[in-house]
Symmetry: D2
Subunit: 334 residues, 4 copies
């Protein structure tokens, strides 16, 4: 085992993805959490905000950003609202030696991937592992984007991806911790609603990845995606329908070969369900075929493989640490 010690700084540690990152990193054997920045909570114990950390850590939030320039950290995680990462990078001097992993959507599209002298690599290990290992800066993928892509990438690489009709359902943590009518328990409990029908902001990064593998995807169909709000807190479940000339065994072989080296992505021969992945960094996939129609089911935990877990996976790859380190999580199970 490498004895590397990675000094980590976190910007925006009071939110959902920041909290989940802290929950992971305090147990990561090769990480020291150097600082956790929060303007609103500066000086207060992290366990006051993330109360499930009672007894696990004495860390406090800080508003001191001197570590950005004095070289005391190796990597900086940005857990900010969408649009704020770009601002943060522009407004702060960050030492060139510090790697950045951004969990927002600011740098995911190639058109937005350059900020000053930094270029961001799209951090989906199933697509870009080699580039991630060399990267100085990572744009961590979106949660729905991750769940949908893992279900489609093998077909895209094989040039076999036509038009796709996708429905996906997400837990309430996908919407962050801000209060809104649709985040009220009285509304959301036992409820289902579609939102951002065919216009979800993750479609851009999905199409970009597919095009990277399968140049003409857009002209051959595209991804029609209907997201639903689910009445649970964690997880994303996806069913994508499309045409395919391959048989089920051919498809299973294609997928298993594509993911042979994936640390967290698995093809199941049995019916999958959401809770198989909740509280883990895994992505699971199940294929079904009836006539010419293929249905690809996939599932992830939106806060882990869909956010903070994948960010740690990317950090491991960037620092030459074994990819699963700190991510051998006990599933919630129930």
């Amino acid at each position: 085992m490498s004895t590397k010690n990675i000094q980590v700084g976190i910007i925006g540690g009071a939110g959902y993805t920041g909290g989940e990152l802290i929950r992971l990193l305090i147990h990561h054997p090769q990480v020291t959490v150097n600082f956790i920045h929060s303007r609103s909570q500066a000086g207060k114990p992290v366990a006051n905000t993330h109360q499930d950390l009672l007894g696990d850590t004495d860390l406090q939030f800080t508003d001191d950003l001197s570590a950005l320039t004095n070289g005391s950290i190796d990597v900086l995680f940005l857990c900010l609202g969408h649009g704020e990462s770009k601002k943060f990078v522009a407004e702060n001097t960050i030492h060139d030696n510090i790697k950045i992993i951004d969990l927002a959507n600011d740098f995911r599209l190639q058109a937005n991937a350059v900020a000053g002298n930094r270029t961001f690599v799209y951090g989906l290990p199933e697509l870009n592992k080699a580039a991630i290992q060399q990267a100085q800066n990572i744009a961590n993928p979106g949660c729905f984007a991750t769940a949908i892509q893992v279900g489609l990438l093998p077909l895209a690489q094989a040039g076999l991806l036509g038009e796709v009709y996708t429905t996906g359902i997400t837990g309430s943590t996908g919407a962050g911790q801000s209060l809104s009518a649709t985040s009220h328990f009285s509304w959301r409990a036992n409820n289902i609603q579609a939102y951002k029908t065919l216009t979800h902001q993750h479609l851009g990064e999905i199409v970009q990845s597919i095009s990277q593998l399968n140049g003409a995807a857009e002209t051959r169909g595209g991804i029609n995606f209907v997201p639903w709000r689910g009445d649970f807190t964690r997880g994303i479940f996806i069913s994508s329908q499309l045409n395919s000339d391959l048989s089920l065994p051919e498809l299973q072989t294609l997928y298993k070969e594509f993911y042979a080296d994936a640390a967290f992505t698995h093809i199941s021969d049995e019916p999958i369900f959401l809770k198989q992945v909740v509280n883990t960094n895994k992505a699971i996939i199940q294929l079904e075929k009836v006539g010419t129609k293929l249905v690809v089911h996939s599932a992830i935990d939106n806060l882990l493989k869909g956010a903070s877990g994948q960010a740690v996976q990317n950090m491991n790859l960037m620092f030459g640490v074994e990819e699963r380190t700190g991510l051998g999580l006990k599933p919630g199970g129930f």
Copy 2:
């Protein structure tokens, strides 16, 4: 108001649909529940099995079927497992004057709609209201079948229905009260799973209805349907994706005209959600259009508009009672 008094018999009153029917009929102003048959519970109070009826009714289950021949009832509801209705009708003498409403799937397809001298009309009022008013026997539609059809019938009638990609999610009561691994609370809570992918048994009746309106539907595409198990008890939410050349206003006009006379089916201009219909007999529909793609969302309560509520609606139509009678239900709301 008509002063009609409808004498009702129920076969299979101990299950979910039987219980829901009892909950409705004991408050129906023009119904007397003559008997509720249950072999297993004969002699015991109905409120022992359906415990939420404590204080609401003194009715007891009976195993006496003499009312089937002595003319003391006007209508018989069959709330039996799929396949058992056909057997029940074959094995019992039922007076010709007694109307039958079957809640199972035994008589829904035209190929199965005749049993002895009885012919069953498919009891979807949005499709067959005139026939239902004249019918002696009703095959009450399936829950998913109802929810999907109300979203597609206007297009089918207009001859504009092409291939459809549908995802639907159902509550646990859709699977009945038998115990199984996927009905265990520890499994189902906070979980999602696909099942019967592209092969759900309701596809037959859906395609039959569409063909009735839009003869060549099957040849023009068909319905690709992925059902999901949801982590709630009541309700079905559907999103169907398809191509359409009509504009959104044209589509909304088409739908509103089609449902102008529908007692319980409404088009919403606002985003819909499942709990708008839970504990009601309503079906609600929302249309969204992006580019050439149309998405039709629809929602019902699977035990009411998807089963026992629609059965009472059919009874009202058959007996010339105002269609909404006994179905002015307070929504659960939360």
Copy 3:
């Protein structure tokens, strides 16, 4: 059946209890909803706010209060935040002929029960039915207060109520529709928390009722009450522990006699559970005895028997309408 037509006005119709009251009153056979006041929603359809009423009503909110003075209504329901009812009554001229039913806690304690020339009767029919029938003004009881009292009143009347240790759990609608950290779905789902331990604001009205029946209750012990936040939307479940010298059969007789005339309160010989009463106006009670210890379980729907349903029950009593009218609700069941 009486042919009375009761003209109703509602103040504060946009909140939870206002919405639930509207859901009840639009189906009440002897009520006409004359106006629903909401400053924030004036001019908009009621079904825009209470979206489950889509297709059920064309009523609109109004900010016109002229009905308060012109005699066009018979009864006014106040569905305002605690403290605002007193202000509303002080600041508005309300015709003397108009009865008032207040759902807040402003007038529940005798020390606060007089406002101008109006005196408010505590509207718990199980305690004060005769007074309610004669009342011009009603202070509708609190939800926890109702659930706890129905479990203790028979003992209090018999002079047998000593010190009580009570735990109760409430659904999220008990806290109203305002957004807060503990009303966020991500927090409340699958969670339990105690709050207002031993200091809940309903203790005052509970002790007042017990004293009314059992003068020295306070000096003999008092009610020690720990409320919990539950991870469901509707309902209250209570377990009260106390000493009793009576046998279980003696206790059951005592309770059944006390509630012999109660329209909605029932003693169950079987184990009770919360969903027996959800979406109904019922209160149910179960007694258990081990050694000298008595445990009284009770359950209600906090928005119905604990708020708007009891308000309608009180209205029925005040206007000489059969007590159950408009409250023969289909239970949610599941």
Copy 4:
């Protein structure tokens, strides 16, 4: 760090506690899972039964028990139904060198703690840490018993524990994976019910522990306990009411001193909630005082601190491994 490698065998690996134990032990850095016994699943992959372990382990169930005699394991976990552990120990020859940790209730009471030449130590580290470190055999405490005891032990040790009125709520996994009416999702969702009122089987071990510290507890009052079934899968939340002459600061000092060395038990100065401990091995406690009344709230995860997590904690203590090893679990959080 010790380099100890503990060879583990598991009997009854197909159930809930067996599964949770496997989830923990496959990531424990000083454990090798030697075998997992299941008669019904022999030869099949463990991940077929515990499907959330897909990709995490290639272990298979076995029906081969030769390791019990050939000395290839160091410790045996019994994850059997209550009553079956005693039978298993009687019917199988188990090498004297093998330590046993029983998760059932067979050996918890001193009257039952001897089986052949084995004597079982009650494995609550907060009570018996020194004895556990020396023990050859452990009777792992019950889930409710653990949650209630951690809230009362400091008072018992101080001789200050009088009569206690306790209410507790448990998740569905507390009842195991067998199917029953009250484990059906349609019943349990959004529901609450009391059961085993004042007669729960864990009372024996609770009273035994209190007597061990505070000899006359039983004669001075006893524990009156009302358990509730909750509508969530994991966790136990307790509120115990009792009289106390100590002030809140005195009580907090008493508790903090008692748990100064506890690895997983923490006193919170803030209001606690169930999800702080879900998916962790922690027990958390909050004290509140009003007048002479003390309320102690406590919470654990019933499958971890209440079962398999505590079993691993006991194993660590027995083998001289740091107590927290393998138990630094990421909380579920949401």
